[in-house]
């Protein structure tokens, strides 16, 4: 697919996210920030497809900051892992599509919700792939706020010690944790230096630029024996200027009548005048 086609795909993924942000809402800020990353990974990087979801010879992607799962649902629906109509079951008891990922949805590798878990789960998968001589790889998407968790750094230490160069941590650097800018609360920078000090190889990239993401994700690992960390600079709420980069638009439950305006805004229309309440749920 061309970059333009990826952009169109990403727009459709964002439409799904907007729809999932009503009738109960979702964590829209993080979902929109990582949508381009997931679109790029699933179309140009990962060796996985609807036919391969159970194939042991596949690449894995795990969402460690699971609240961005609407973006993954959108990608899985657009790429044929699940029917698009299934997304209408968001938060319905007769399906298993809710605010955090779970394996009942084809293409979702593991559940998450509690932060700081899936780096280690990814390491277990990566260890097994190496033991079996597989060339497949494991990508794990971490939130930047998630880097507060001690298990990220425990895992980073062990991943290098075990030479997991088939492991790629992708940090969705949208600069926010739930309610506040990361640098105002627990400053994270310089993120690359921290991972480099733990023995990882790192790159920093614009997480919304498909050509730049090619440069970040192609040609890995950067060094044999070293895990990779890609710091992807992103914008919370990307695609909807009315909510972009705002601390109070983390979890949003849009009113139904706001959806039409939001979809127009996504396609370049005017900013929506929102009256829906921003919710804080964790």
């Amino acid at each position: 697919m061309t970059n333009e086609e990826l952009s169109q795909l990403a727009l459709r993924v964002r439409e799904h996210i907007i729809h999932m942000a009503t009738d109960g809402g979702c964590f829209i800020g993080a979902s929109l920030s990582c949508a381009d990353l997931l679109v790029h990974l699933y179309t140009r990087v990962l060796n996985v497809s609807p036919a391969k979801v159970q194939d042991p010879d596949r690449d894995y992607l795990l969402l460690s900051k699971g609240h961005d799962v609407p973006a993954l649902y959108g990608v899985l629906a657009e790429l044929g892992f699940i029917p698009r109509e299934r997304l209408q079951n968001h938060l319905k008891t007769h399906d298993s599509i809710y605010w955090h990922p779970n394996r009942a949805v084809p293409g979702v590798e593991f559940h998450s919700g509690s932060l700081g878990h899936l780096l280690s789960v990814s390491m277990g998968i990566a260890m097994d792939l190496k033991l079996r001589g597989s060339k497949n790889r494991v990508f794990v998407v971490l939130g930047d706020g998630e880097l507060d968790e001690g298990t990220i750094w425990e895992g980073a230490l062990v991943a290098k010690a075990k030479g997991l160069d088939n492991l790629v941590a992708v940090i969705d650097r949208n600069n926010f944790q739930a309610n506040i800018r990361t640098e105002e609360l627990i400053p994270l920078e310089p993120i690359q230096d921290k991972f480099e000090a733990f023995g990882w190889k790192t790159r920093r990239v614009n997480g919304h630029d498909f050509a730049a993401l090619d440069g970040a994700f192609f040609g890995l690992p950067m060094e044999s024996g070293s895990p990779t960390c890609i710091v992807a600079d992103t914008v919370r709420g990307k695609g909807l200027p009315s909510i972009e980069a705002r601390a109070d638009r983390w979890f949003v439950n849009f009113k139904r009548e706001e959806i039409e305006g939001l979809l127009k805004e996504l396609h370049g229309g005017a900013e929506t005048k929102l009256t829906s309440e921003a919710l804080i749920v964790r």
């Binding site: 780096l119 990814s122 277990g124 998968i125 990566a126 097994d128 792939l129 190496k130």
Partner: protein, 299 residues
Amino acid sequence: MTYENLLKATAEQDPNLMVLTAENRAVIRGLPPVLGGRFIDFGIAEQTMIGAAAGLALRGRTPVAHALATFLIFRAYEFVRDDVCIPGLPVKLVGGVPGFLSDGNGPTHQAIEDVALMRGLPNMQVFTPSDEVELLQGMPKVLASGKPCYIRYCGVPAVVEHQPFELGKAEVLSEGKDVTLLTYGFMLRETVAAKKVLESKGVSVRLVNLRMPKPADEQAIVEAVKATGMVVTIEDHFLTGGLWSILGEVCLKHGVAPKRAMPIALEERWFKPALLSDVLQHEGFTGEQIAQKILREVR
């Protein structure tokens, strides 16, 4: 046969068996050269070990993870809960020096709420061997169960002749009508000693070794309640959530009640750290002391 040799032999038969440790090799020192890449030492990183064990299990492995019980399941509790129990992956957690076996280490090392925490988790099984014989009897069944299991490691010499092991089945080591002594794990040794004292005083004792607090053998408990005038639970565990709680839950569920019941457990406190024999004496958990407590009640 030793525990280590059992794992070695199992690994030879099952290419998916893996042995993990968070830098605790006390009972598996000989395995690294034998298992090669299937032995992984994570360093002092219990949470990462449990998360990675889940990842390995997703790929078809059966990971057997070792650490001191406290660090394995308390430090990494949420990883056990989220990454092992929610998906029900066949990760085996082998907790070292549980209960009184931590002897002189002090309260940070006393796993005496481990049974309560582990049996409270959906999908988790709990195996509490009383000695090396029972450990070796149970491990093959636990390893083959396809489910998560917490193993409260105890490798002391056996003082009884064990019956064949079945998952979720207690063993009734003696029939009796006056008192049921209901126990599991390391305390079986002292319970057997208590039984001898009681019998020398003319008390008829039914001795039940639960073997697995989860799934607990409810039928064996109900039968013991019906068959004897008094039930005594004996465990090196907090009173809350262990065998005393199991007895209460099973009795309520089945609508039976012991005529009399008494717990021997640690009530809202950690035990005095010392050498094991001194711990038992200080805390009143020797067979003789247990028997005397019971005699005061039955007389």
